[in-house]
């Protein structure tokens, strides 16, 4: 996080706010609700309190304006700049301006008012932009279903105003770091010749043509997918990727999630109702067999017949010796299976049924 240079902050922790005018894009009650929720994010993480006033002076004034609105920071029409805010102080200090040329929403369509208001409030309270892509104070707008303070934002606001008065201190998600030796994964899959690793709200992407790991939100590619995916696999012959969470799954082709999803895993794949979620999945390109790992067992599915093979589930430990009883994620590359469990990874030869090399989970990131 970054604190605004000069460390401007409010001396009084009980602040007032007023909404000067309303956007026609949303009902008034929705605007009120979005701004109230934005304040709650920051008040839950600090000793700050916020009270709405209907008229007269207020510390933080919200307005919807467009073009040149006489503060030396003109807006630029649709897209581009969405909003700006002034650092704590008297007069215009703390005030927040939204660009009325944007279309303001209360859902995942661009641009979610709650999301933008929460970010701008960070500036009104004395925070500058963060370089942590998972932080609310990151400068670019990324579509997200989960609008919350990351641990980085909480650290920032608490550096300015101290801890929350709540007996249980709030915590927020920590953005994964490719070279963190404790990094684990929710799911891993190949996608059109690349490999994508999934963790919480994020993906990490490696591409043979770029040396750097790309870290971004899953929602950048697939806005309708939830965070915390549990398994994913590619059927390259059909150019499909399946994503699993709980007993539901989604199918995507490239960036498009296909119509009619999510579907349940029982009717589509034939799992019994006792299976509540899938830990990991991988499809063997040569045979068209997909392996699903569930607790200490695995199932085999035939992608051509679109049915589960008879005689399953079987014990993982029996047919994949050495990889343990539980799999977090698995993918196939160059004829090998790569199994992930915690911070460990195993390069496994499915022909000889032996581990070729034990690796660290983040071995793909050139750390």
């Amino acid at each position: 996080f970054e604190i605004t240079p000069g460390n401007p902050h409010w001396e009084n922790t009980h602040l007032t706010y007023r909404i000067e005018n309303y956007t026609p894009d949303l009902p008034r009650a929705e605007v009120d609700h979005a701004i109230e929720k934005a304040f709650q994010l920051w008040s839950n993480a600090s000793p700050l309190t916020f009270t709405k006033v209907e008229q007269g002076q207020a510390d933080i004034l919200f307005s919807f304006v467009w073009g040149d609105h006489h503060d030396n920071n003109p807006f630029d029409g649709p897209d581009g700049y969405l909003a700006h805010a002034f650092q704590p102080g008297p007069g215009i200090g703390g005030d927040i301006h939204f660009d009325e040329d944007e279309r303001w929403t209360n859902n995942i369509k661009k641009y979610n008012l709650f999301h933008v208001a929460a970010h701008e409030l960070g500036h009104s309270l004395g925070l500058s932009h963060s370089s942590d892509i998972g932080a609310l104070m990151y400068p670019s707008y990324v579509t997200s279903e989960d609008i919350l303070l990351a641990q980085d934002d909480i650290n920032g606001i608490q550096a300015l105003y101290g801890p929350s008065n709540n007996p249980i201190q709030p915590t927020g998600p920590i953005t994964p770091q490719a070279c963190d030796s404790t990094l684990t994964f929710d799911a891993v899959t190949t996608i059109r010749g690349e490999v994508m690793f999934f963790k919480d709200r994020f993906y990490l992407r490696i591409n043979p043509f770029y040396p750097e790991v790309e870290l971004n939100f899953i929602s950048v590619f697939w806005p309708n997918l939830p965070s915390g995916l549990q398994a994913a696999y590619e059927v390259s012959e059909r150019d499909e990727i399946h994503f699993f969470k709980g007993s539901t799954y989604w199918t995507a082709q490239g960036q498009n999630v296909l119509q009619g999803y999510p579907k349940d895993i029982y009717r589509s794949f034939g799992f019994p109702r006792t299976v509540k979620h899938i830990d990991a999945a991988v499809s063997e390109e040569e045979s068209g067999k997909t392996y699903f790992f569930v607790a200490n067992k695995y199932w085999r599915y035939d992608e051509y017949k679109r049915s589960m093979d008879a005689g399953y589930p079987k014990m993982i430990a029996h047919d994949f010796p050495g990889i343990g009883n539980k799999v977090d994620a698995v993918f196939q590359k160059n004829g090998f299976f790569y199994f992930f469990h915690g911070t460990r990874q195993y390069e496994f030869d499915p022909k000889s049924k032996r581990i070729v090399t034990p690796l660290r989970a983040n071995s793909w990131f050139n750390c």
């Binding site: 969405l82 932009h129 892509i133 670019s140 707008y141």
Partner: protein
């Protein structure tokens, strides 16, 4: 990769200039008179921007850098003026 037309290059150059002026306090009136140095203020600001966003620090407006610059964003600068 498709070749970039000169029109697009000009637009990209303007985008980079405007972005750095808006968010990285690049002064657009001081660069032309000064003696050419190995590293211009624009290159330095570009490097600063690339470092902030975790991009490869090249000092050049490569495709990844332009992509980030084209994303909708908050109007508050990333560095103090």
């Amino acid at each position: 990769f498709p070749a970039t037309s000169s029109d697009t290059q000009e637009q990209d150059a303007q985008l980079v200039q405007k972005y750095l002026e808006s968010y990285y306090d690049l002064k657009n009136d001081v660069t032309k008179i000064q003696k050419q140095k190995s590293s211009s203020p624009e290159v330095e600001k570009l490097k600063q921007m690339q470092k902030f966003f975790g991009l490869k620090v090249t000092g050049k407006p490569d495709a990844q850098t332009l992509n980030v610059m084209k994303q909708p964003r908050c109007g508050v600068p990333d560095v103090a003026p």
